[in-house]
């Protein structure tokens, strides 16, 4: 199972890198989405993949008597998803605004902040 997950992460990162290398801002953003999802899957994988039992302690006992899924990676992934979502929302609105201002989303045509210098 870990091997499949690792391959999935690798495939997603490869796709993300391909998209991020594009000059179109929107494609870069799609690459970033894919990359952050790849990282989330990686967090789940490194937190050990276990099937079944939720990490709950039975009533009347003080320690867990069975192997259970690790709750911490899930908490980390949840935090990362929330943060990634808000960053992405901002980035997409910014992209829309940039399109309104500059009429293009081609990053190599965006030379307002760094105008080409005359020799």
């Amino acid at each position: 199972m870990e091997v499949i997950m690792a391959l999935a992460v690798g495939g997603m990162v490869a796709g993300a890198v391909y998209l991020i290398l594009s000059r179109q801002y929107l494609r870069v953003m799609f690459g970033v989405i894919l990359l952050s999802n790849a990282v989330n899957v990686a967090i789940l994988t490194v937190g050990r993949l276990t099937t079944g039992n939720p990490p709950l302690i039975a009533q009347g006992t003080e320690v867990m008597d069975h192997a259970a899924a690790n709750p911490l990676p899930q908490a980390l992934v949840l935090t990362a998803i929330v943060i990634g979502f808000s960053l992405l929302a901002f980035a997409l609105v910014l992209g829309y605004r940039a399109y309104q201002e500059m009429g293009t989303l081609d990053t190599s045509a965006m030379r307002v902040a760094e105008p080409e210098e005359k020799p």
Binding site: A42, R48, P73, A91, V112
Partner: protein
């Protein structure tokens, strides 16, 4: 009480930001709140530093969860020093912002977002948990996105696009590095990690994760080859925002590198610190050459931010107590000087009529002689003229480099210093000695007396700090020495966080499951 004080660097700006948002429609109230919150943060930072120096490292367990399980806040000499200096910069910039920020940006929530930025910066300084560090980086990041694009000028939007794109990739790298480290050690507490990491049987994995951390923090700190976003963005937002970005943001990246590479990744230092050394050397040279090639004051200063990041990382890469002390000293000096230079460049821009292109500058001594005198302090300190603070920082770094026989790095540092003197000379010639291209716009005289005062006071304050560090370096040198020792001998840090009893070995769930199998 001490526990509250350790958490205060996070609580005070967070509360200030919340109150500013409550008073969203009343900019005047926000101004007062922002200033009060900044003053309170300086007071808390000062009190925290004095307590750390007198009573040792301060630790708070959030929610009273015992150390490796909950989030821990730690204030050691480096954290406390950085909190204090960040608070002072926050105060100076908040003061300058009162005179500088235009009504549009103020209505857009500049003061509230600025305080959130301070929350993120201070949170990154005091946290003792790696995942929590990532969260504070994100807090800092998203508020910096807003501050960068606030105002909505075309060049701001253009710069923000690049800044956002590179930082989202950096964020993913950092998150992946944190997750992988958790995967091999089963803990996220930094003190606990410093014990667990050497126990990992597969050490090459640790080295690979360390390199991922170098990449992630290197992007935040603008190290070569991840620096190109900085000169593309830092000259676009309002002056107050430029100053706080240049002063603090990249230094948080350097702080994180210093924390992680003295506490956690010390096993394979030939490899990891070697990489840092090479990156630091190239960063210095590339930064200073870029600053010489720029034909605009603000952009030259942006390149200078890059150049001096290299000097600090060089101190970290040498990693002797003296070198780490030098890095800490240099960081304090550089934060003050860069904030001052960007605030000064903002005033020069006002006087030159909205542009800092060298072609538009000139005759500053006739227009504003007092500003010239004031600007000479950070310029001289940047170039490292004795007895200003930059001289002592460079002296310490050179000594640390010579002691450990890093002659190439010392050579690069001195060449960078020389080229910086060239840049300072050129800026002085363009800005002060040259005849102005056109009659001065004299924008500053149209401001009311009170506003002029608000714009000048932070510069005066920062210049006074620079001069007093330069003339009285012993106190800061002693403090930096303590920082250096606490970073090389981390047992006090670990003991303060984890207590005297070692934490139980975490049971990795994969192992538990295989044991449970019949």
């Amino acid at each position: 009480m001490n526990a509250w004080l350790t958490a205060a660097p996070i609580l005070i700006p967070m509360l200030t930001a919340a109150l500013c948002m409550v008073a969203w429609k009343h900019p005047v109230v926000q101004r007062g709140l922002s200033l009060l919150g900044s003053i309170a943060l300086v007071a808390a930072g000062g009190a925290l530093l004095s307590i750390v120096l007198n009573q040792g490292i301060q630790v708070v367990q959030m929610g009273a969860w015992a150390a490796p399980f909950g989030i821990t806040l730690v204030a050691d000499p480096l954290s406390a020093l950085m909190v204090l200096i960040a608070a002072v910069m926050g105060f100076c910039v908040a003061l300058h912002a009162l005179g500088d920020i235009d009504p549009v940006r103020e209505k857009g929530g500049h003061h509230a977002v600025f305080q959130i930025l301070m929350t993120g910066v201070c949170g990154a300084f005091v946290t003792g948990d790696l995942f929590n560090l990532y969260v504070w980086f994100e807090v800092m990041l998203i508020s910096s996105f807003v501050l960068l694009s606030l105002g909505g000028l075309r060049e701001q939007i253009d710069a923000a696009i690049k800044y956002v794109a590179i930082n989202m990739v950096a964020t993913a790298c950092l998150l992946l590095a944190v997750a992988l480290l958790y995967g091999v050690t089963g803990t996220l507490n930094m003190a606990d990690l410093s014990i667990r990491v050497p126990e990992v049987p597969n050490q090459p994995v640790i080295s690979a994760i360390a390199v991922l951390f170098i990449i992630a923090f290197g992007m935040k700190a603008a190290l070569f080859p991840f620096f190109f976003w900085l000169p593309a963005t830092y000259h676009t937002p309002s002056v107050a925002v430029q100053a706080i970005f240049a002063g603090l943001l990249t230094k948080v990246g350097v702080y994180a590198l210093m924390r992680v590479f003295t506490l956690i990744f010390t096993g394979d230092s030939g490899w990891t610190h070697g990489i840092l050394m090479v990156m630091a050397g190239i960063t210095m040279i590339v930064g200073v050459l870029g600053s010489l090639a720029a034909r605009d004051l603000n952009r030259a200063w942006s390149w200078q931010v890059v150049a001096h990041i290299g000097s600090m990382v060089m101190g970290l890469a040498i990693a002797t107590p003296l070198a780490l002390a030098a890095a800490a000293f240099y960081m304090v000096h550089d934060i003050i000087v860069k904030t001052n230079l960007f605030l000064g460049a903002g005033l020069v821009r006002r006087l030159a009529g909205g542009s800092t292109d060298y072609a538009r500058l000139g005759g500053l001594f006739k227009t504003a002689p007092w500003l010239c005198l004031l600007l000479f302090v950070p310029l001289g300190s940047l170039a490292g003229f004795p007895p200003l603070s930059g001289f002592w920082g460079k002296l310490l770094l050179v000594r640390a480099g010579l002691e450990t026989e890093h002659y190439v790095m010392v050579g690069l540092l001195l060449v960078t210093g020389l080229l910086t003197i060239w840049l300072v000379g050129r800026v002085w010639a363009e800005m002060v000695w040259k005849a102005p291209a056109e009659p001065p716009a004299m924008a500053i005289s149209t401001l009311s007396f009170g506003r002029t005062y608000l714009l000048i006071l932070p510069l005066l304050l920062l210049s006074l700090i620079t001069v007093s560090i330069g003339l009285q370096p012993e106190r800061l040198l002693n403090l930096a020495g303590q920082v250096g020792h606490s970073l090389t001998d981390t047992s006090a840090y670990v003991q303060a966080v984890l207590g005297t009893t070692p934490s139980p070995q975490p049971t990795l769930l994969g192992a538990l499951e295989t044991e449970a199998m019949p």
